[in-house]
């Protein structure tokens, strides 16, 4: 275990937050916080400084894209990944320009998928090797 990622999950479904936390934790990610609204997410991200924040695009009545934009511009060194139940193909127009480093459909969420997106971004930024997780 070279790197243990810290992660904040933002989603308005308690059930999803619980199952995603359980899965990511088992796969070696430290889920340091969970938020169910934009306001909570900003506060937690400030306090916890997670390596990566997962943001649901449809955050109840709030706009997850707008939240991603704020998180990414407030802490550009940290990473935001958008998540949704829908296919990327339905949302490409929204994802591009959100400041997020990538998108994951919720059912393929996992530690490796998150690490791959971060790795790809670091590679394109500085030519680094992607991190490994157990």
């Amino acid at each position: 275990l070279k790197v243990s990622l810290s992660c904040l999950i933002v989603d308005d479904s308690e059930e999803f937050l619980a199952s995603a936390t359980r899965l990511l934790s088992l796969q070696g990610v430290r889920v340091v916080g969970r938020a169910s609204s934009g306001g909570e997410a900003i506060t937690l991200a400030d306090a916890l400084r997670p390596d990566v924040t997962l943001v649901d695009i449809e955050l109840g009545d709030e706009d997850g894209i707008e939240l991603a934009r704020r998180l990414a511009s407030a802490a550009p060194s940290k990473h935001v990944i958008l998540i949704s139940l829908r296919d990327r193909g339905e949302l490409t127009e929204l994802i591009s320009g959100s400041g997020a480093i990538g998108f994951l459909r919720k059912d393929v969420l996992g530690a490796q998928a998150v690490a791959d997106l971060i790795g790809r971004r670091r590679q394109s930024d500085a030519g680094q090797e992607p991190p490994h997780v157990s």
Partner: protein, 726 residues
Amino acid sequence: MSAEPAQNRNLLREQEALRRVATLVAQGTGPERLFDAVADEVSVVLGVGAVSLVGYDSDRQMFSPIADTHGRRSAMPPGAWWPLGVSPLGRLIVETGRSARIDDWSRLEGPVAERHRAEGYGPAVGAPILVDGAIWGYIGVYGEGGEAFPPDCESRLGAFTQLMALAIANVQARDQLRSLAESQGALRRVATLVAQGDEPQTVFTAVAVEAARILGVGAVSLISYDPETELFTKIFGTHGERAAVPDGGSWGLDQCPEGALILRTGGPVRIDDWTRIPGPVAARHREQGFGQCVAAPIVLDGTHWGHIAAFGEAGQNLPPRCEAQLADFTHLMASALSNARTRDELRGLAERQGAALRRVATLVAQQASAPVIFDAVAGEASRALGVARVDVGRCDSGGSVTLLGSTGRSDVQHDHTFSRTGECVAAKVMQSGTAARMDDWATLAAADAKVAAEEGFRSAVGAPITVDGTLWGVIVVLSDEFLHRDTETRLTDFTHLVASSISNVHARNSLIASRARIVTASDETRRRIERNLHDGVQQRLVSVALSVRAARAYPLPREVQSGLDEIAAALDDVMEEIRIFSRGLHPALLSRAGIGPSVRELARRSPVPVMLDVAAVPRLPEPVETAVYYVVSEALANAAKHSRATEVSVTVGCDGPRAGAGVVRATVADDGVGGATPDRGSGLIGLVDRVEALGGRFTLDSPAGRGTTISIELPLGDRRGGSDIA
């Protein structure tokens, strides 16, 4: 899944059924064929055993089954008239004026109830069909066995009866217009005969024959009356060998019941029952198999000249409009005969009035817009009556008049509103409800009168436009010469036509509004279902899927591992199915981001390369955005499926929106094989329906071998097409 998605599915199916029926109404489908479609849809949507369409007579004492799906189980075959008392459901609807249901037929009496029980029908629900505010009939549904209908059955059936009512109102408006045009045509033929100097007998023959044809009755007589001798003389009849009195024969008051009645009442009369009328004429009438008689006076230059009598065949039920048709006809004929004195003038009338009314009737039939129709009415009235100025205006409750059409004015625009409280012709018409005139302006103090005098007008005549029994507007003609005293009569002819066009446009406007409501309701339902799936079932399934994958991280026996693998794979399949279903329901991106991003997304997914030109389109009303999206989506799908195109161009642009105005345009053009038609299962007909429901325009240009171009234009704001004259 829970009960909710099943409910959603039913709602969706019902919205689609309503949309199919609304499309038929919009296509001008007649009530009988429409009923077949309604019966099919209602049977499926409400899951009932049989459906019937029933009409009432005008005073709702009788009813007649018009069509049904009972087949051999029918209690009463369509076509016959029955007393209201025998139909428990029909009577309840008339008594309450609203939907009715009968859950328990076991203690009801009468032939209908007995038959109902014998055929094993269960509960029944009926919803009234309201046409022009009155109960025209109802649609009844009959369940199999004993299970009661759900409580919302009445309101769901009501949605279908509303569409049925629209179709009936449409047909009635068309019928009224057609019969008016026919009457006018008959007048023209009669007047032409007189103008040609034909023998009076030829003219009278033509009058009787035309009247018999227009009314569709067994025979028509033309009878004159001499007040000095108190004798009726039969000028001409179409009875042939069935005549009681030969042409030229005379008889007294006691032998001519309809003539005597007319002399007493001064208006049109109807005799239903000849059995108790004494005398040889009535006896001969009965023998020859004539039934009802409708007659109307002919008044020539203010004096009673005689009457026209129409005789139905025995058992023929002459419709209530018969009196009015005959009265219109005699009225027109009287003015034709009156004008016969001056042959030149008459020839002018025959040519001008007949042709003028036809031109206006054509515009109405072509569904021209309100300003076009009313300007044409004013122009034709001006030419036919030889007057310098004609105004057509609409009355409102505050006593003012809004100008809808005019000729001979240079000063005022359409929609200008005048206060009409002073002494003027329009005010007189509005107060009295009848035609009025004004010949001397000099003595009047009102501003309007001064203006008229200054403009050099000598004489003005106005006539009311009466729609559905209420004063709708006025038509006023002004002349610098004294207007002949038959002007009131001739002007009244024009107001009949105007009234008919208004009633027609009214029917069309309510149809457009109803289609828009249905399309919007259907989209709203789909959007809600998509939302419910997303926030409910899909969210839960993905959580379960992640939990299953979490469970697989633990060391487990191999059998358990492979079981979990199977569960995970099955969950993936289920989620994929729902995602596909969900995408077909409503485009999520459209609600979130509007037309621009959604159309770009469609272009990205298109298998045929797309040249995209999408202007910065602001957020628009949801029905408009949805229509643009579906048009582009369907056009791109067609291009990929059928056209063998190598490139498609998509252009979307928007003028406005300003308050209550603006238009959005979209064009999809491919370089494929062309030859697309809206009727070949291409999904285009659904688009046409959707666009027209929003008052927009859909054009398809697809010449064989030269590509396909689909263009739409949708108005923004409140004025979504249709004329606003009603």
